[in-house]
Symmetry: C2
Subunit: 459 residues, 2 copies
């Protein structure tokens, strides 16, 4: 069991390790690898949404419940409650003693995981097909029957506090990433870390947990995604017998969060720390998500990210790592799968311990080149192929398919949006890519993060 | 009538104009200029607090009502409602048609004003003593009897939107100041501008106004301060006949706002604008207020600010403007009169159009000198005298006296705190001043603002 606060924008570490970052938009496409059964999408009577993605290549099923609540839905001052609650979901219920859930999943030969993001909280298990009914019964049970006493809350709060200590406080990159978010977002709750701020986590209590549970853990706020060796009719029947028995909760208000004011400044955030060995930078701009963008813009941003810095064939990598040899790593990143305004990022670290400023200037120059000259037909075509192909690869596993639909459906997209995505990518023009670069990557309105070894003077 | 959003930290403009900034802490002292009648402080039966400051030197009375609500108490997404509501308070009531309030104040020979800050909203009038009863009746009337229809709300919203356009949007310094606050504060609502963000102000409506009025405009959330040619008994009698008739409202929850997480980065905020003629910088650190500080720390910060940059005798001014001649202006500022964590600021603008970086380095060096060598006994003594004397001057006018008590009482201080302030200042040691400089002005944890002409490259 890996209880993980998946901070979708916490790419920083990956950037420094020189990993390629694969953009995973809210999308997939049908019929890419031969004939597939159609994806089924329906509602139970109590409002729970169900997505079934049949895939009979292997006798395995991915079962996921996605709640439409993440850290960005937390009340002010209660940061961390969404992730803390994810932990509490593994405690005892009125029907199952503490530990029984894990034991039951293990007994049926399954594996389980959970994660919390800004916009959703997800519980997923990979199981043999014949255990699906059992799994659903267990998952439906903990949707409403958790026992939330102080004796349960206290020790688990210590666990999440320790998680923050070890994963964030001990890691300069993570600490910097938090302050970048808090600087990039002046109003929207994406500025608050998913795991929560220590001083607020310490005060989370039973009342907070109960209020959160009662408000958000309801069938009418959940999406069930089942992918793998199943049939839609069978899933529907089992879902009705398990989740279908859970009473609908009160209607939830629309997820309308405070939005960003107009921003007019360039900002920097600098972390100087003895634990840092090589300097690096990352530059962030606010950018629309698939849900908030004008038609075609999010797709164009995905392509811009791919062309500029989506991997080893990208402009930044080819120019700065391969040709000039001034960068150990450099790339770009766009996360369009967000309910609200998201960000576009470029990053780099120099080869050797200096040259950070020169590298940043070269990255800026590469962006300016796209803004001035646009992109070529051939590189656009290749980038489209790479993006579309990444979705083909994603279809190879039921769990990545389920992830794709689940994240899309909890961030404002529909099953149809997911299925139409490859066509939408294919129809983006070079002018559209240039236009979003000009519109969103404004030179004086970015937030630049610097991670510097102690001996360096600040930038 | 000057309906003003007094943003207490919006000192930026003053800094550029080379004005001295007089620190006005939540304080005064009694008996500084001969025998005075004691300040009286009592509660009405409905919970309204009353402060009477008799001062018979002139036949004039300052009448102020302070509500313990400011922009930092606004719900997320409703920025600007506190200041907008201040405007609405000048509309008609069930007893007085629109315009009657202003006409009545004019008829009794008075003058009026109102302002909104992060922590309080204040209505004040200066009137002849015999009009006090009339004034109180008018002010008590609008505490509960406002008529808040869409016909009233709509046009006044246009007025505050226009106020924002002309005072903030048209002014690079104000825009920069807003983004500095939003960067300095990552969690606390001081990051939101008092006047509100345009996109949220545009949506403020009747429901917001009514909810705000009903929650906060109650006698048990208000402080009446009357200073000038009055006696306490007379004020009490008139207050009971007017404010005393207003029903107590529901108890308000404690004013506990989200607080700042630990901050570990240095940040910059840069505004490049064609309207800027000379470059300037200001550097901000989070610092405790009189309410949140450890004993003696806020007083030491007041003295540090005075010594470092409190006027033409300060270190920064003497060294950088007078001796070195590299600065057109430079100073420091600390605003201790805040309910929550506040800020300490240094600022400067070079003589001529370049030299900004050199000036910033020199200001940093001056701070480092205090942190390393501390301050001298003589300069401490002189700074104490200047601060205490500024309070003597403040006592010369009933309105500044009333301001002092009102702002103190709405930010967590008491009448006794105000009166003991000079003694607390006098007891600060040089070591305490050095200690707060070390503790709060950390080199890598500040936010530095740069205001640059368009032709400059960003810092």
């Amino acid at each position: 069991m890996n209880l993980e606060a998946k901070t979708v924008r916490q790419f920083f570490r990956a950037a420094f390790l020189g990993l390629m970052i694969v953009s995973v938009p809210a999308a997939a496409f049908a019929d890419a690898k031969g004939k597939r059964e159609p994806v089924e999408n329906f509602l139970l009577d109590n409002g729970m949404e169900v997505v079934v993605i049949p895939d009979h290549r292997a006798p395995i099923v991915t079962h996921m419940v996605w709640y439409k609540v993440g850290s960005a839905d937390e009340p002010p001052g209660k940061s961390g409650i969404a992730h803390f609650f994810e932990h509490l979901m593994f405690k005892g219920t009125t029907n199952h003693k503490p530990g029984e859930f894990d034991a039951a999943v293990a007994a049926i030969g399954g594996s389980e995981n959970a994660f919390t993001s800004y916009d959703y909280t997800t519980y997923h298990e990979t199981i043999p097909p014949d255990a699906l009914g059992t799994m659903m019964a267990l998952e439906a049970d903990r949707m409403r029957n958790l026992i939330l006493t102080d004796a349960v809350i206290g020790p688990e709060r210590d666990v999440v506090l320790e998680e923050r200590r070890s994963r964030i406080e001990g890691d300069p990159e993570s600490l910097l990433s938090e302050e970048v978010q808090a600087t990039l977002y002046q109003n929207h709750p994406y500025r608050v870390p998913v795991i929560g701020w220590m001083h607020e986590m310490e005060k989370l209590n039973r009342d907070d947990a109960v209020a959160f549970y009662n408000q958000y853990y309801r069938p009418n706020n959940a999406v069930l995604v089942v992918a793998g060796d199943v049939e839609a009719d069978q899933v529907r029947k089992l879902a009705e017998e398990t989740y279908g028995k859970v009473a609908r909760g009160p209607d939830l208000p629309p997820r309308i969060r405070p939005t960003e004011p107009e921003q007019n400044t360039g900002r920097t955030v600098t972390m100087v720390d003895a634990r840092v060995t090589i300097p690096s930078f990352a530059k962030y701009w606010l950018a629309p998500s698939y849900r908030t963008a004008e038609p075609g813009e999010a797709e164009a941003l995905d392509l811009l990210s791919e062309i500029l810095g989506g991997g080893t064939r990208s402009r930044l990598y080819q120019q700065l790592v391969v040709k000039d040899g001034i960068a150990a790593g450099s790339g770009a990143y766009y996360d369009g799968t967000a309910l609200d305004e998201t960000s576009f990022t470029v990053y780099g670290s120099p080869r050797g311990s200096d040259g950070l400023q020169k590298l940043e200037n070269e990255v800026d120059a590469e962006i300016a080149r796209v803004q001035r000259d646009g992109i070529g037909a051939d590189e656009l075509e290749k980038a489209k192929n790479r993006l579309v192909r990444s979705m083909v690869f994603a279809q190879d596993s039921p769990s990545s398919l389920a992830n794709m639909y689940g994240s899309a459906l909890t961030t404002g997209s529909t099953v149809k949006d997911v299925q139409a995505w490859p066509d939408r990518i294919k129809s983006v023009t070079a002018d559209q890519v240039k236009a979003v670069a000009v519109k969103y990557l404004k030179p004086h309105q970015s937030v630049t993060a610097y991670l510097l070894p102690s001996q360096e003077t600040s930038n």
